[in-house]
Each structure stands twice: as structure tokens, then as C-alpha cells.
């Protein structure tokens, strides 16, 4: 359902950047910009209290906003 939100927001001229745990799924639904993270379900931004990783996820999502629709990025441990 999140991919549908991404598509609707983009169609209304609001760009989106989305975390994905399953790129095959988000590619199929056509999420415009995705960041593939190596984390577990229920922990899409890393482990509890690992704020350093969380900051990197948010930074990389923000960076993704500036890239064209169709961008497929992978989470980088070292930016």
C-alpha cells in the first residue's frame, strides 16, 4: 500500500523517497524512488537505539529525493 501512496503523491507533484525491504515488490508496484535496506521486517530503519544507522537512512532518503523518478538505491553503511 505504501507504494500506492508514493505513486499518488508523485502524480500530484510531491516527490517521495521510500525505504524498501523487498525491492521486487516495490519495483512491481512501481514505487518511484526506493532505498533498499538490509534490515529485518519491522525494523526498516535498523535496530532499536542504533540512531547512527537511523540518521544514515534518513540522509540517504533525502539524497534520493533529489534523484530522478525510477532511481533504485542501496543503503550504504559508509556514505
Amino acid at each position: 500500500m505504501l507504494g500506492l501512496y508514493a505513486r499518488a503523491l508523485e502524480a500530484s507533484h510531491i516527490p517521495t523517497a521510500m525505504v524498501t525491504l523487498f525491492p521486487e515488490i516495490t519495483d512491481k508496484v512501481g514505487a518511484p524512488r526506493t532505498l533498499h535496506v538490509p534490515f529485518k521486517m519491522g525494523r526498516p530503519c535498523g535496530e532499536p537505539f542504533d540512531f547512527e544507522t537511523r540518521g544514515k537512512v534518513v540522509d540517504q532518503l533525502l539524497e534520493l529525493l533529489t534523484l530522478p523518478s525510477g532511481s533504485r538505491e542501496k543503503y550504504r553503511e559508509k556514505p
Binding site: 500500500m1 505504501l2 500506492l4 501512496y5 508514493a6 505513486r7 499518488a8 503523491l9 508523485e10 502524480a11 500530484s12 507533484h13 510531491i14 516527490p15 517521495t16 523517497a17 521510500m18 525505504v19 524498501t20 525491504l21 523487498f22 521486487e24 515488490i25 512491481k28 508496484v29 512501481g30 514505487a31 518511484p32 529485518k40 521486517m41 519491522g42 525494523r43 526498516p44 530503519c45 535498523g46 535496530e47 532499536p48 537505539f49 540512531f51 537511523r54 540518521g55 537512512v57 534518513v58 540522509d59 532518503l61 533525502l62 529525493l65 533529489t66 530522478p68 523518478s69 525510477g70
Partner: protein, 169 residues
């Protein structure tokens, strides 16, 4: 939460964590493929943009009505989360992943604090006053598409939101 829902949750979580590929295939088989890709561009530099979060991890205010996880069709409604909320005021209602981690530290599904830090560091212009909590795991998305998604899109335009970060459960 009904006993039946608890059992469904346990079964689903066991399935998805032990048979991740099968879980992906199951989800894939219930989705419509979209070949076209909508494309929006930032209308201003990122450091001037107002940014909002959208989560499908079932995040909501403790004072709000929880998502209806007993409904077999899922709960397609949304909850508004104000930016000035503290993490202690948040909780998570979801049956398709183990919520104990997100209840310990909601930022693992809803990185609002980190978004605020991005604003403080000048990476973005500002944090939106409103954010959206949703409950994922809905196979038939018709009601969401017809009713709730257009409402959120309208809300984002009314709030002057320039970009959104989307986080799954």
C-alpha cells in the same frame, strides 16, 4: 485484539520470517503491476523543503484509536501524527511483524527525531507539522485508493508539504 487475530499474527510472522521468499511471492501475487512511473521533481532546493513522513508500520498516538487489526480485510484508514509528539506518546499496532522492537524505540519505523535533526542541520527547510501513520498488509487496496489516499494527498497540499519520506513496517 481477538484471540483469532493473535493466532493469525503469530502464524503470519512465523511464515514471513522463516520463509521470506515464499512470503514475497505471496505478496507479489496479490499486487497489480504498474509499468508506468509517475515523476515529480522538487520544486525548490532540498534545504528549503518541508518534509513529511508516511509509515505503514501501524504507528499512531497512544491517545488515538488503534488500527482495527481484527478486520480480516485490514484497516485502510490513516492516523495523523503531529510533529511535536514525543516518542513516549507513540505506539504501534500491526499484526504482520513483531512490534516489540518498534514499541521499544518507535524511531525504527518512524524516524521523526532524525528528520528533525536534518532540519536542525539545515539539510531540509523544515519538518512538516503533520505526519501519517498507516497499517500495512492490506491485500485489497480499493478502499485506500478511492477514499484515504486522495485525502492524504489533499492534506499534504494544504499543509504545503514539498516532499515525503515513506517507511514500511
Amino acid at each position: 485484539m481477538k484471540m483469532k487475530t493473535k493466532l493469525k499474527s503469530k502464524l503470519s510472522r512465523t511464515f514471513s520470517s522463516n520463509f521470506t521468499n515464499a512470503y514475497q511471492k505471496f505478496t507479489m501475487s496479490h499486487m497489480t503491476e504498474n509499468s508506468s512511473l509517475p515523476e515529480a521533481y522538487l520544486q525548490k532546493p532540498l534545504d528549503q523543503c518541508k518534509v513529511a513522513l508516511v509509515s505503514t508500520a501501524g504507528v499512531h498516538l497512544k491517545s488515538d484509536e488503534p488500527f482495527d487489526v481484527d478486520n480480516p480485510a485490514g484497516d485502510p484508514s490513516f492516523r495523523i501524527i503531529p510533529a511535536d509528539v514525543t516518542e513516549r506518546e507513540l505506539t504501534v499496532t500491526h499484526i504482520y511483524f513483531d512490534t516489540k522492537f518498534a514499541k521499544t524505540d518507535p524511531s525504527i519505523v518512524f524516524p521523526l527525531q532524525q528528520l528533525k535533526e536534518s532540519a536542525a542541520d539545515g539539510k531540509i527547510g523544515s519538518v512538516s507539522g503533520v505526519h501519517i501513520g498507516l497499517n500495512g498488509g492490506i491485500l485489497d487496496t480499493t478502499i485506500a485508493e478511492q477514499n484515504f489516499i486522495p485525502k492524504v494527498v489533499k492534506l499534504f497540499h494544504n499543509e504545503g508539504i514539498d516532499a515525503a519520506l515513506l517507511v514500511p513496517g
